[in-house]
């Protein structure tokens, strides 16, 4: 609380930068966030233009099997003679898409459930919490495996399965935040001006709960990519003809002693993505926290 800030002269106040330029400043000042942004931009570019960028057809078994990295094949070839770099580039699309879309779905469903439960309490809370307890009793991955087994394999089913497995994490966090925020006096104050329940939840409570939800979301993107990888590893992922990072990693298992590159490079791709998302998530959290803004 700085009393000087309250007395800031008008010129200082008027020069408050817009949202975009403020975000840009923040990113440029934060080296980790900058790295994250650059890596994610490259990955997104690869995801969109993957087939055009890859040096070879990812499914073309035209080369010698299990070649180490060389100029012709920077990341080597796999057991069927396919170019690993091409497969990784093309696989970016599915891996990123699964990671982002599952978290978006899980966040939307989970936060909605959690906010409703925390805000209304009573039987709504009981129903939601019992469901969450039930889900919590099983490891997320077991739930995803079970759902894919029921729904069948394929991209959409994998996304549905992984997002449902993550719903409880978001619901629990959102509920906890709402339980504490709804006790605040500014919520009572919002009620005294005639705001409806929906409005109070959406406009007054949720903006105060973003920080832990963003953290959970960035962590979950990582787990979702790994989840897809794990499902693929078990043969429960996307169709075998689609190269995904997880699938490539899974296939490398049998050759791990003879061909280190088959496992290391898809693993590195996953790690880089996850790390970048975490860096960027931290920056986003700082950006959204207006309480951190010192003066206007």
């Amino acid at each position: 609380m700085t009393p000087d800030a309250a007395l800031a002269p008008a010129e200082l106040v008027a020069r408050r930068p817009s949202g975009w330029s403020r975000f840009a400043t923040l990113i440029l000042a934060d080296k980790k966030a900058l790295v994250g942004l650059i890596v994610l931009s490259v990955l997104t570019f690869a995801a969109v233009f993957g087939p055009l960028l890859s040096p070879y057809d990812p499914n073309d078994m035209a080369f010698d099997m299990i070649l180490g990295p060389s100029w012709a094949h920077p990341l080597g070839t796999d057991d069927l003679g396919r170019d690993l770099l091409s497969r990784l580039i093309v696989g970016t699309q599915v891996s990123l898409f699964v990671g982002v879309s599952t978290v978006t779905i899980a966040l939307a469903v989970g936060v909605t459930l959690g906010v409703l439960a925390g805000y209304f309490g009573g039987w709504v809370d009981h129903v939601v919490m019992r469901y969450i307890d039930l889900q919590w009793a099983f490891p997320n991955f077991i739930i995803a495996v079970y759902l894919v087994a029921v729904l069948g394999t394929g991209l959409v089913n994998v996304i549905v399965a992984i997002s449902l497995a993550f719903v409880d994490d978001f619901a629990r966090i959102a509920r906890g935040m709402v339980l504490s925020i709804k006790q605040e006096q500014y919520i009572a104050a919002a009620r005294t001006v005639g705001a409806s329940n929906f409005r109070i939840m959406w406009r007054h409570i949720l903006p105060n709960a973003t920080a832990p939800i963003i953290v959970q979301a960035t962590v979950s993107v990582s787990y979702a990519i790994l989840g897809e990888a794990s499902l693929s590893f078990l043969g429960l992922g996307v169709e075998a003809s689609t190269p995904t990072w997880g699938l490539i990693l899974a296939e490398s298992r049998s050759f791990i002693s003879r061909a280190w590159w088959l496992g290391i490079f898809p693993g590195l791709a996953i790690m880089l993505t996850v790390l970048s998302i975490n860096f960027l998530g931290d920056a986003l959290r700082d950006f959204l926290d207006v309480r951190e803004s010192r003066s206007l």
Binding site: P3, E184, Y186, A189, R191, V193, P207
Partner: protein, 330 residues
């Protein structure tokens, strides 16, 4: 003149582990248009609970409005459905809370919070609401209002935040504002400014004001009429000056003796009221103040005194109110 707000025999109960607690026990008071009414009492006397009941903001459960009527402009607020009471909140009755530090949402800009009620109730466009917010901030004495709209609560001092709260309460031009301990959290110099501002604005705009407070200094200076509450009931009511000079209830006498006053000789000791407020779960059958009262008689523990007139427009709920009023018992 017909009353703007009339609270009749309001009973509010809270379920607790040791039984049902009567936070408001047949509270009645009224407010005329444009009038400033103070409600005075210790913590737990039921003054805030009564005020929150007017806007139906008692959390249910554990709270429950068990009886009575709250008439606002002739219609019973307790009979309204959720939708209808929402249209009353902010539009017809504004509310100002005790803690300006916590009454503003920390992550929303001042402008966004101020315009909410106006857009909800007056149907203003974003630009119109912003313009009106600027006018309101000017009215409550905030410099450079245009840029303040973009500020967040932590950029403002406590006094400025309370000014913002006042501006918000006035935004839809409600005929009544309820201020629950509006200055308790502010330092003394700011307190006077804020109270002056509230009084001045209410007089100018013809808004009635209910000030809930435990500070009798505020009462003497700013209120037209006073209701003194004890253990969930109004025990004395009358014009502010009159009650200050000729209190008609031993509790009010005790309150007045326990605050420093400039009209007393310097160095005279403050006399606290002995004992504690009664347990609201199991109230004794007689006068609730009787165990702490210095002038109680044998009959006080058996029967509950009702409000009786001691002078014109001045009532007191004490069997010996006449003697107290005349100063015969001190």
């Amino acid at each position: 003149m017909t009353a703007l707000l009339e609270i009749k025999d309001l009973v509010v109960e809270f379920a607790t582990e040791s039984g049902s607690l009567r936070a408001a026990n047949a509270v009645s008071y009224d407010v005329s248009p444009g009038e400033i009414v103070a409600v005075v009492g210790e913590s737990g006397s039921g003054k805030s609970v009564t005020a929150l009941s007017v806007l139906r903001l008692i959390p249910e459960p554990p709270g429950r409005i068990a009886g009575g009527e709250i008439l606002f402009q002739g219609s019973d607020l307790l009979a309204l459905d959720d939708e209808a009471i929402r249209r009353v909140r902010g539009k017809s009755i504004g509310m100002i809370f005790q803690e300006p530090m916590t009454s503003l949402n920390p992550v929303l800009s001042i402008g966004r919070q101020m315009t909410e009620a106006m857009r909800l109730h007056l149907g203003l466009s974003a630009a119109q609401a912003d313009q009106r917010a600027v006018d309101l901030l000017k009215m409550v004495g905030i410099a450079d209002p245009e840029s303040r709209l973009k500020a967040y609560p932590h950029h403002l001092s406590g006094g400025m935040r309370q000014r913002v709260m006042i501006a918000m309460a006035l935004s839809c031009e409600p005929p009544l504002i309820i201020a629950d301990e509006p200055t308790t959290a502010l330092d003394v110099t700011i307190q006077a400014q804020i109270l002056e501002l509230m009084k001045d604005l209410c007089r100018r705009l013809g808004v009635a004001l209910v000030i809930i407070t435990h500070n009798l200094g505020i009462v003497a200076r700013y209120a037209d009429r006073v209701n003194v509450m004890y253990a969930g009931s109004v025990i004395e009511r009358g014009p502010a000056q009159e009650i200050y000079r000729h209190p008609g209830h031993p509790y009010t006498v005790g309150l007045l003796n326990s605050v420093p006053r400039l009209d007393r000789p310097r160095g005279s000791p403050l006399e606290p009221i002995p004992g504690n407020p009664p347990d609201l779960v199991s109230l004794p059958p007689g006068c609730p103040f009787q165990p702490r009262c210095g002038v109680a008689t044998a009959g006080c523990a058996d029967a509950l005194p009702g409000l009786e007139a001691v002078a014109a427009q001045h009532w007191s709920a004490c069997f010996r109110s006449r003697q107290v009023y005349e100063g015969a018992l001190t």
